[in-house]
């Protein structure tokens, strides 16, 4: 992945910003994700589907900025400095590398 697929017009970026800036929206997402996704009229069907399936590979292929992708993964899988964020980054990397577990690429 490099910047050649990057698409700053994706509505998913706005979703992550709104979640980051609005705790009430975060609570609503956890309770009723569809009602939050409905707020983004410019979100494309394939973008929405990738979010619903937690398919970060698809999301990045559509052009999502990885920094906001990382934040979305932490929101979904765990954001604390210890276990949660590690779990989130493992699952993110697994999704991006197209398999279900393990942490590849350790130096």
């Amino acid at each position: 992945m490099a910047w050649d697929r990057y698409d700053p017009s994706l509505a998913a970026h706005d979703l992550v910003q709104d979640l980051k800036w609005d705790p009430a929206l975060r609570a609503q997402f956890k309770q009723n994700e569809a009602s939050v996704l409905d707020r983004y009229p410019h979100m494309r069907p394939e973008e929405r589907q990738a979010i619903e399936r937690r398919d970060f590979r698809a999301l990045y292929d559509l052009g999502m900025h990885p920094y906001l992708g990382g934040q979305l993964s932490r929101f979904i899988w765990g954001n604390d400095a210890g276990r949660g964020a590690i779990e989130a980054s493992n699952r993110l990397v697994a999704s991006l590398q197209g398999h279900a577990g393990g942490i590849p690429d350790k130096p």
Partner: protein
């Protein structure tokens, strides 16, 4: 004519706070020695005001209206922003601001052809300012701080040559516009190699990091620009490594000076190469 009395560059990886206790001795030593040395040099230099250049990480602006630079002119800066608290896992902090220096920087850089945003209200801070603050106890030092949030990650962003140019303009503002006798410190916060949120989240490019620390410590900007290009940064980690551009601004401001660094660690769980430089500006 104000003067630059301190200049340094450090990374701001949140895991250097959150996972510090779990890190191996050697990695802990590099974190402790780097931030310890920077903190001591900062106090010894007794700046009245510290201007901190640091990546904004999409914390304050939408991706559809993303500025290259935002100068914070609030009376007081505080963090981390609520969303980042549990992720960074550091204490809450607050720093006195310097509205007049922020304002002069905005006016002076505009007049010198550098587009900046000026934010009078509170900015949201993430690891960019939080990590150096808590690791150097900057919030105990009684130094006024002017944060300049920088775009290092939302393409297209200002490249190395442009950041050196911005730094030279910053130096001109300090020299020509700020009050005589004012003691100014400069800190670049960002890097080294990392790819936050990317497929190579766990990859650290030690070769890049060691070369960058070497080039940054030598008084040779041509060599820096030649070896530390944006393509090389992206190779060392997309969307994160380019934060070393914050150091380029400091380097542009101080001119070609020698710097000292305090070791290096590429411990993978920091998810970022760690090393810092303090430059001789005396």
């Amino acid at each position: 004519m104000a003067e630059i009395v301190f200049a340094a560059g450090v990374p701001h990886a949140p895991a250097t706070v959150g996972l510090f206790e779990k890190a191996p001795d050697e990695a802990r030593a590099v974190v402790a020695e780097t931030f310890g040395a920077v903190g001591r040099a900062l106090r010894a230099a007794r700046p009245d005001v510290l201007i901190v250049f640091a990546n904004d990480h999409l914390t304050n602006s939408r991706i559809t209206a993303y500025p290259d630079f935002i100068i914070g002119m609030a009376e007081r800066h505080a963090g981390p922003h609520e969303w980042f608290k549990e992720w960074i896992g550091c204490r809450d902090w607050a720093l006195p601001g310097d509205p007049e220096v922020g304002r002069s920087l905005f006016r002076g850089l505009t007049r010198r052809g550098i587009r900046m945003n000026l934010e009078a209200g509170p900015l949201k801070f993430d690891d960019n300012l939080s990590v150096p603050t808590v690791l150097t106890d900057l919030d105990q030092a009684g130094i006024r701080v002017v944060p300049v949030l920088q775009n290092c990650t939302v393409p297209p962003f200002p490249d190395g040559a442009r950041c050196l140019e911005v730094g030279r303009a910053v130096a001109a503002v300090i020299r020509e516009d700020l009050p005589p006798g004012l003691r100014v410190g400069l800190l670049g916060s960002g890097g080294l190699s990392h790819e936050p949120g990317g497929a190579r989240y766990y990859k650290i490019d030690e070769e890049f990091d060691r070369l960058f620390l070497e080039r940054a410590s030598q008084p040779d900007h041509a060599a820096l620009l030649r070896d530390i290009t944006i393509p090389r940064m992206e190779e060392a980690g997309i969307g994160g490594t380019a934060e070393v551009l914050s150091w380029f601004i400091v380097l542009g401001a101080i001119g070609e000076r020698r710097g000292e660094s305090f070791g290096y660690t590429g411990w993978p769980s920091f998810r970022c190469g760690i090393g810092g430089v303090v430059w001789e500006v005396g």
